[in-house]
């Protein structure tokens, strides 16, 4: 195997290495004014005025999706995300009606953003396509226990928001849900015989 050898040859004149280095810094200094960001120019941006482009896959904190109204979220309070969350930052309680019968929707759904480590495990394990990773970032708070503990009302966001931030994933999931619903509807009325010819033509 041939190996790249480490160059140890001396500079012909003492100091040329430093001068060469200064030439590089000078070149970079001038380039930073006249070149574009991806060719060696300044790539910092002025944050509050300009914002970075955020990629579609970007993830930080979880949120819940609802379809029609916040009263009927996709979440059924099954508690799988609560169980699988590595940091145990999710707390779910199922809603019950006055008779004490469970209602398959959350009464309490809290996520401690101060504890969440943005891994995306809850999104991976959710069987109801309900919890997804958001990309909010201006969420600084003054109190660790109050401002970082996000409740159900703040977590629930419409499906339109999900479609806006992640169009590709949302389209896939919507198509899958629609297909599943159609299948369920078809399975619910197996007794109806196929029309013999009434609606044809």
């Amino acid at each position: 195997m041939t190996r790249p050898q480490i160059a140890k040859e001396k500079n012909p004149v003492f100091g040329t290495g430093i001068l060469q280095g200064m030439w590089v810094t000078m070149k970079n200094f001038i380039d930073s004014y006249f070149k574009k960001a991806d060719q060696g120019g300044i790539f910092t941006i002025q944050y509050p005025e300009e914002l970075c482009r955020i990629s579609e896959n970007s993830r930080n904190f979880p949120f819940l999706v609802y379809d029609a109204a916040p009263d009927s979220p996709r979440c059924t309070a099954c508690g799988i995300c609560e169980r699988e969350c590595p940091t145990k930052c999710i707390h779910v309680e199922m809603a019950k009606d006055t008779a004490g019968k469970p209602l398959r929707k959350p009464a309490v759904f809290e996520i401690d953003y101060g504890l969440c480590m943005n891994c995306g495990m809850c999104e991976d394990v959710c069987p109801f396509d309900s919890i997804f990773m958001d990309r909010v970032y201006e969420i600084a708070g003054r109190d660790r226990t109050k401002d970082m503990l996000i409740g159900k009302d703040a977590l629930l966001k419409p499906n339109a928001y999900f479609q806006k931030i992640r169009p590709k994933d949302a389209a896939d999931i919507d198509a899958r849900r629609k297909a599943a619903e159609a299948k369920k509807a078809a399975a619910a009325r197996p007794a109806t015989p196929p029309d013999a010819g009434g609606t044809a033509s």
Partner: protein, 378 residues
């Protein structure tokens, strides 16, 4: 810690850290000085200990992935890689072709990120305050943008899954990677023009902190530090894990094992990594990016129950041999989980390298080891 290390007159014991800025984290060392010369040096580690192994033993196998990101937080892709290899060996999961290529591309990009940062901060330690570091961070930034685009997060990527990766690479992303990587050789040329022949850097680094071959082997040093001492040992070549046997790359070796060799080996390794990424992009096949059989296991992690047994998966992380040891007892949780962290083991020879050197060189020698305290203390 009240007893002194060397009980001699004329010596002075001083304490570095744990908040010393040059120690790359909460690392503490106690140095015994005679004038400016170091007579003895003891490491005090454990300030960042956060029970990583015990936490992992209380989680499911897929749940540990997010925690492995936090070991060596500068290149989470490589950490994921090692853990994925260990668990796949344990459960006998195969990885599709395309996923292997994606893994190699990401792992080599992570290696470039790590070495860029190392060289930048080594120069900071040397006193070249932030000019080389800024140039390095500028290139790193573009690679981190790719990571965000692909995995969702810039540093805590959590991208690998058992039997593949989380998302597929689109053609756009491949083009972006090709663009970023094609810039790197020119950047490295410029970077070397700035640094490699600089007289100040040569005088500070050459013949400083030498690590003899036999000591390096006996102490279990791995990675660029071992190769800088002239020993040809690269797990990508010896184990040929994943698909590293398909790529043509060389293993740069140093001669003396001083700080300059360690610096230069990393520059050369970056060039080799660029070559690997280019070959991988050229050869990436179409196909699935995740083994379809493991998808239900990821959707329901409690079903991932490897048969009782043990497995050790190791990779050539940018810092050395990163190994994960898993013991399964057939339940969804690992019975034992151990990380062989290269930072910790490479750090053990710090005293031998520092004794007899000047106190200012100790900082440079520490910088050239390339430690990350997230991995050292776990």
């Amino acid at each position: 810690m009240s007893e002194t290390i060397l009980n001699e007159p004329q010596t002075l014991e001083i304490n570095f850290g744990p908040q010393h800025p040059s120690t790359h984290g909460v690392f503490r060392m106690r140095a015994v000085l005679d004038g400016e010369t170091i007579r003895g040096l003891k490491l005090v580690i454990g300030y960042l200990h956060r029970n990583h192994e015990q936490i992992a033993e209380n989680l499911t196998y897929p749940g540990v992935f997010a925690y492995t990101d936090r070991l060596d937080y500068l290149n989470s892709m490589q950490n994921n890689f090692g853990y994925a290899l260990a668990a796949e060996k344990l459960a006998g999961i195969t990885v599709p072709e395309r996923a292997e290529y994606i893994r190699v591309i990401m792992a080599e990009l992570a290696r470039i990120v790590n070495h860029l940062l190392l060289v930048g901060f080594l120069l900071n330690d040397l006193g070249a305050f932030f000019t080389p570091c800024l140039y390095a961070v500028r290139e790193r930034e573009r690679i981190l943008d790719i990571f965000e685009d692909v995995s969702g997060s810039r540093m805590m990527c959590n991208y690998f899954r058992f039997g593949g990766v989380k998302n597929d690479l689109t053609e756009n992303q491949l083009g972006e990677i090709r663009k970023v990587v094609s810039r790197l050789p020119a950047f490295l040329d410029e970077f070397e023009a700035l640094l490699s022949k600089n007289e100040i850097l040569c005088m500070r680094c050459q013949n400083v902190g030498g690590l003899p071959k036999d000591l390096a082997v006996n102490a279990g040093i791995t990675g660029p530090m071992l190769r800088a001492s002239g020993i040809n040992y690269d797990i990508r070549k010896t184990d040929r894990y994943s698909i590293y046997d398909r790529f043509d790359f060389k293993v740069p070796l140093g001669q003396k094992g001083d700080v300059y060799d360690r610096y230069y080996v990393r520059i050369l390794e970056m060039r080799e990594s660029v070559k690997i990424v280019e070959q991988a992009i050229a050869g990436i096949p179409r196909g699935e990016f995740l083994n379809a059989k493991t998808l239900p296991l990821l959707r329901n992690p409690r079903l991932f129950k490897p048969a009782a047994g043990e497995a050790y998966g190791r990779i050539e992380s940018p810092k050395g041999e990163l190994g994960y040891y898993l013991v399964s007892d057939g339940t969804p949780q690992p019975w034992r989980y151990h990380v062989r962290a290269p930072s910790l083991i490479n750090l053990t020879v710090l005293e031998e390298m520092c004794v007899g050197q000047k106190i200012a060189d100790a900082i440079v020698i520490l910088g050239s080891i390339d430690i990350v305290l997230g991995e050292t203390d776990r």
